[in-house]
Amino acid sequence: MASRKALQPNRDNGDKYSVLLPTYNERENLPLIVWLLVKYFGESGYNYEIIVIDDGSPDGTLEVAEQLQKIYGEEKILLRPRAKKLGLGTAYIHGMKHATGNFIIIMDADLSHHPKFIPEFIEKQKKGNYDLVSGTRYQGNGGVYGWDLRRKLISRGANFLTQVLLRPGASDLTGSFRLYKKKVLESLVERCVSKGYVFQMEMIVRARQLNYTIGEVPISFVDRVYGESKLGGNEIISFVKGLLTLFATT
């Protein structure tokens, strides 16, 4: 009994974690992120599933996902593709509908979010019975890799402005590496109206508004190695718009 427990220390408590991986042209990153997820979930022994939501990537991400499903099994890797690029926000909603876990983990598939932090998220959640746990680049040992001074300045400046205006009770609002109780995520998604970039920010601001408890875990954010960024462009403009909207409506 003792030895079985040591092998799979966290299997028996009934909790299950559904990881949502939205992908668009992540052919190179997807196998790596899945491998890392399997590795860290395997080591920590938590029960999990990985839900890949691919939006018809022209680079054939879905085909790679199918291979991964063969390798790791259909209970572990679920494919919930959509025919065309419909955006990140709806990808989460779509994936969540198919999730069987009582907890949901949202992360990028581009290796910026390292699965090694997931066991820390889970421990943090259990410790305080938090409704959501958010990764933060701005506290403790958290940080970034591959950012120049300009990007750091914009990031810190935007974060400071947001903290002053919204007092959200969380230090990283635009990061999207988070663990939610499934019910909490469902109720948040229902209320959130923003698209794209601002969506993450709205989620955590509304969470605070609804008196959900928020735990934080410092994470290191390593800029994507493979593939291209899909956001960018007028990121700053949409950020300011979103910030002002939240300022006036929450």
Partner: protein, 92 residues
């Protein structure tokens, strides 16, 4: 109450107190020094808040962690993962 309303409320409250003291609107016959101190107060507050903001953001930019170790670890894990996935039959 939205954050916007909270701000408007706070600012008008402060503004009212400031106007009361600076212009002695209620004829409380406050000492002249009170009025002299109160009158330029908004400017002082604004400037000190500006300085505080610049200092805070500057400090946070300067102390923003560069996660060299994490990047290196990831690179090594990528190698290991590719190797292992190839063995498991993944074709990229």
């Amino acid at each position: 109450m939205t954050k916007l309303l909270q701000w408007l409320f706070g600012v008008s409250l402060l503004g009212a107190v400031w106007a009361l003291v600076s212009f002695d609107l209620l004829d409380l016959s406050l000492p002249q020094t009170y009025r002299e101190v109160a009158w330029p107060m908004p400017l002082y507050l604004l400037v000190s808040f500006g300085c505080y903001s610049l200092a805070t953001v500057g400090y946070r930019v300067a102390t923003f962690n560069d996660c060299e170790a994490a990047a290196k670890e990831l690179q090594e894990q990528i190698k290991e993962a590719k190797e292992d996935l190839r063995k498991k039959g993944l074709k990229v």
